[in-house]
Amino acid sequence: MAVEQLRGLTAVGAVLSPLAGSGPRTDAVVARISAAIGLGVIADGEQLPSEIDLATQLGVSTMTLREALAILREQGLVVTKRGRGGGSFVRASAEDVHARSLALLQELTVEGLRDLGDEHFAVAGATAVLATRRAVAADIARLRTLADRLAASEDAISSRRADSRFQIEVAVCSQSARLTRAEVNIQAELAAMVWLPRLGLNPADEAARHQQLVDAIETGDQAGARSLAEEYSALTIRRLIGLRMELARS
């Protein structure tokens, strides 16, 4: 059911789309599903689609998928229940999600982070300018609502959702499908790491920065919107690189 539900939802679609290229498929499937769980795209307790549906969605044989599920069970990320109402279920508490995000951050190099940051710098700056040119009153209202939702968020997971949703919505206001897809993919990689409790971000402060960007978009200040978006993207990646270096020291 989940995959059917998720078809058309871009972030999830990116995670559960057919694997490209050749090579060891089982490992690729394990990496893909554990990334989806780690990012919170598939939530704690959620049932995975049937083996046949999931194998079709990922473009692998059911044999490969079963091998991958066996590995995920060993890692404790998936439990399989037999019988009526049975199937494979995701196990991912908030702590699990944070632990995996931290592990993901440790797997990335500083150079890899910088490069991800560079891509976000380009996309965030360009979408901010285009949003300033193209946003209408309803867009501004939607952006403000999302920033308010971030300010009012009470735990890391809801902050992450509200924050990434805001940034994706700026891209939506740019009216560009390609740039929006790029932003969605970047958020899928970045957002869980940005809201790691260890970074200690205050939702109200981050929301205030987002409101400044909305001010610039609303007043038609293209240069201001671009530089605010670029600065925010640079700050985000600086925080992550800082934590990555800290992890290397300890």
Partner: protein, 251 residues
């Protein structure tokens, strides 16, 4: 016919026959989309009334009966439309709070239509909360035909579309949902660009917010906003909330 609560009709009182041709092409395209929605709405209302008259409340599985009329319209409008369906009013069904019976063509040509399933549980990260979306709340609150967009529907179908909707009421006069269709802007462009290109002066079709849908001028592309709409002559297009804007300033 009126859409988005506007009630105005285009009259070529300036005697511009060429402009009238462009306007008529847009109106006929939009009226044909609404004709499809009327077919879906009529099938829904008939089904709904039949169940209520038998003393039952409709449930989500009953809506499977809409499959044939919906897919029929999807096929009839294959050149233009990328999704057709019925979106149920909050709380109108006996078994689930929200539901949509929405079908899309298969990605492969000649393949079978696919039912769109979205995440409709409020706690979920990808909750598709249509009750707050304009294409649903507009016709629900105002009881009129609606055209929303162009907009990027990245949580729904991941496309740059205009969504056309029509409110549906049961025989007992209760709002039960909206019949709708998604039309990708690229398809509108493909259908209308030849007509626009043949027009001899710079011309744009814009929505009520001044956003360009189709134009024959490279400075004004889909998604862009008119810089100074008040300085331009806009002619409302009958049956739509849209206008044809002459891109030459009146100076």
């Amino acid at each position: 016919m009126k859409a988005n609560g506007t009630d105005r009709s285009f009259r070529a009182d300036n005697g511009d026959v060429a402009l009238e041709l462009v306007s008529a092409a847009v109106t006929s395209l939009v009226e044909d989309i609404f004709a499809s929605l009327r077919t879906v709405a009529a099938a829904t209302r008939a089904l709904w009334d039949r169940i209520e008259e038998s003393g039952d409340r409709p449930g989500s599985s009953d809506l499977a009966a809409l499959r044939d009329p919906v897919i029929g319209e999807l096929q009839r409008q294959a050149e233009l439309v990328n999704g057709v369906g019925f979106v149920v009013a909050d709380g109108a069904l006996a078994d689930v709070p929200r539901y949509l019976e929405w079908w899309r063509p298969d990605v492969k040509p000649g393949g079978e239509a696919q039912r769109l399933e979205l995440d409709l549980s409020p706690g979920s990260e990808y909750f598709y909360d249509y009750s707050t979306m304009e294409w649903y709340s507009g016709p629900r609150d105002r009881g009129v035909l609606w055209v929303h967009g162009p907009y990027l529907d990245y949580t729904g179908v991941d496309l740059y579309v205009c969504t056309f909707t029509l409110p549906v009421t049961s025989g007992r006069g209760k709002f039960i949902g909206v019949a709708g269709a998604d039309v990708p802007v690229a398809r509108l462009d493909a259908a209308l660009l030849p007509t626009f290109a043949a027009h001899r002066t710079p011309l744009a079709l814009t929505n009520s917010e001044g956003r360009v849908i189709v134009a024959n001028d490279a400075e004004h592309v889909a998604g862009s906003k008119l810089e100074d709409p008040d300085s331009l002559t806009a002619l409302p297009v009958s049956a739509t909330p849209w206008s044809l804007v002459s891109l030459r300033s009146e100076t």
